[in-house]
Amino acid sequence: MSATARTDTTFARETGTGAGADKAERRPSMRLHSRLHYRLQRYGMETLAIAFGIVLAIWSLLPIYNMWMIALDSHDDVFSGTIWPDNPSLESFRVVVTQNFWYLSRFWHQFGNSFYVGLGVMFLTLGIGSLASFTIGRMRIKHGWMLSNAALMTYVIPASFLAIPMYRIMQIYGLSNHLSSVILALTTFATPYAIFIFSQYGKSIPMELDESARIDGANPFQIYLRIYLPLMAPALVAVGTYALLLAWNEYLYNFLLLSTPDSMTVAVALAQFLNSDESPWNFMMATAIIYAMPPIILYYGFRRYMAAGLTMGGVKG
């Protein structure tokens, strides 16, 4: 059917009015035929699109469904080979929340560590990034381009390639097994993106505001604090979310730099389950789901705000 031939037009917001109109002068039977044909084509395409959408939904949800299924299983049923647990129970969540398993004995403490690292990275990234972008974009210091190049370079270097020297350097700085080592390392990788976005966004804020503030006698720090930061709020939220999620989701650096149960973050604690072949996988998946919740909530909570950021960026000056 010709529906398949037309799938490449699906990206367009076309309604096909042109296709019907140019055939209007033909004989009535032809017109009827073409209208029928057109309608069939539309229904065909819609059916195809829905089928495609279902496949896409299954593809997206299968691993997540799998996570829930294992978490809801009781311990012996994990290996039963069904696609829905025989006796679904929240038992494994209870075990995780009450820290009733030896891998999880410090779970809430580690959860707090993850938050501490996330918030630390977020505030450092916002502070350092906005200050640097203010110098580069607003004050336009002479060698500002060197700073933005340095940031770009850091942004495109894979973090995992720097992991081994970074580990040694943290030992030299005396920060090994300390949460601040992870905070500093991850801030390093989050700040370039912050500078990049802040510089872009800052261009939409009129320079005249800075100039009038200067005429009123404000010093650069007052301009930064009173004018630049408040007007940058949407970009600050976007980058703050980015930094928080980057830190929360990071595994490699947490794993290398933190090793005792009290300094671990949830990511490291979760991967500990993999050290043994006999681990209770339902507890692990329950931990994984609880760990995945804050980023998912944050993401969906700020989605609308991000979309607003897009349209703001899209408006031409």
Binding site: F11, G18, G53, A57, I83, R168, Y224, L256, L274, Y291
Partner: protein, 305 residues
């Protein structure tokens, strides 16, 4: 997440037509320099202490030629290089092609398409670690969900996926695509949405529909963004540690390791950190040109904004 912001940043489609003017009427003077300097200090310190110093330290660690003899005599290294080439080559191009098509699909105005987008984002919103662990168990040969489904629906006895080199590698690539597809789809979707609707209307008037419209409107306007995305994702995929480490675990018998995981494996399982650094350094001939091109590309698009 801030994907939309990033799309704006690397898209280069939002060209700002205002003339550039010098910052701050009359430039900056006297005490302002001290402020400007003070503002730049935190980033400079972070950059020197946690980027430049590790890089130099790494170069020093990996400077012994004997390390490279040792490395090139290790068959696991060559397996890892080939795996990395396949992983990056297939993973990036497959994902981008899919993301490009999907971004077209999500341009549809139906309500159900918009709701589907919300579901479709979920893999990206889920942290990598739980997602990859789940995929690892999903593909388990004996009691994994995928084989259970195959058995229930088709009556097939599925293979033990992670016991074979090729299927293990394919699983890693599939997991990487699964995780990152939504991100790039949204970037490309933002790119498509920034194409002015008038261009499509004009193309319609000129009689271009279907493929011709794609060829003459969508393609030329998206080509640069697509290229930047490919390059950026090549760097990300090259450094991707999590998918290989958690989905196949590098197994069976270290046959699916990529450069990013093998380096860590050398350094922490075999306790040869210098060899690990040397192994990562062998990626530099590819990485440096990529970084250079990307810096140019990103800087140009920044200049246009």
């Amino acid at each position: 997440m801030s994907v939309t912001q990033q799309a704006v940043a690397i898209g280069g489609g939002f060209a700002d037509s205002r003339p550039r003017r010098k910052a701050w009427f009359g430039g900056i003077h006297g005490a302002d320099y001290i402020w400007a300097f003070a503002f730049a200090v935190p980033y400079v310190v972070i950059f020197l202490a946690f980027v430049i110093y590790p890089i130099c330290y790494g170069l020093w660690l990996g400077s012994d030629p004997a390390l490279y003899t040792q490395l090139f005599n290790d068959p696991r290294y060559f397996t890892a290089v080939i795996n990395t080439v396949i992983y990056v080559g297939v993973g990036v191009n497959l994902k981008m092609a899919l993301a490009f098509m999907l971004s077209g699909f999500f341009m549809r105005k139906r309500l159900w398409v918009k709701s589907l987008l919300v579901v479709f984002i979920l893999p990206w919103a889920t942290p990598a670690l739980p997602a990859y662990i789940s995929i690892h168990w999903l593909l388990n040969g004996q009691w994994g969900m995928l084989n259970n489904l195959l058995w229930l629906i088709f009556g097939w006895d599925g293979p033990v996926y992670l016991n074979s080199h090729w299927m293990g590698l394919a699983a890693n690539i599939g997991a990487y695509v699964w995780k990152n597809l939504p991100f790039w789809t949204i970037i490309l979707l933002a790119g498509r949405m920034s194409i002015p609707q008038e261009l499509y209307e004009a193309a319609n008037v000129d009689g271009a529909a279907g493929f011709r419209r794609f060829q003459h409107v969508t393609y030329p306007l998206m080509a640069n963004l697509y290229l930047v995305c490919i390059l950026l994702d090549t760097v990300f995929a090259l450094g991707d540690f999590n998918a290989t480490y958690f989905v196949s675990g590098g197994g069976p018998a270290m046959s699916t390791e990529v450069l990013a995981t093998l380096g860590i494996r050398y350094a922490y399982t075999v306790a040869l950190p210098r060899l690990g650094v040397a192994e990562v350094m062998t990626a530099l001939p590819v990485l440096i040109p990529l970084v250079y091109i990307l810096m140019r590309k990103l800087r140009v698009s920044e200049g246009q904004l």
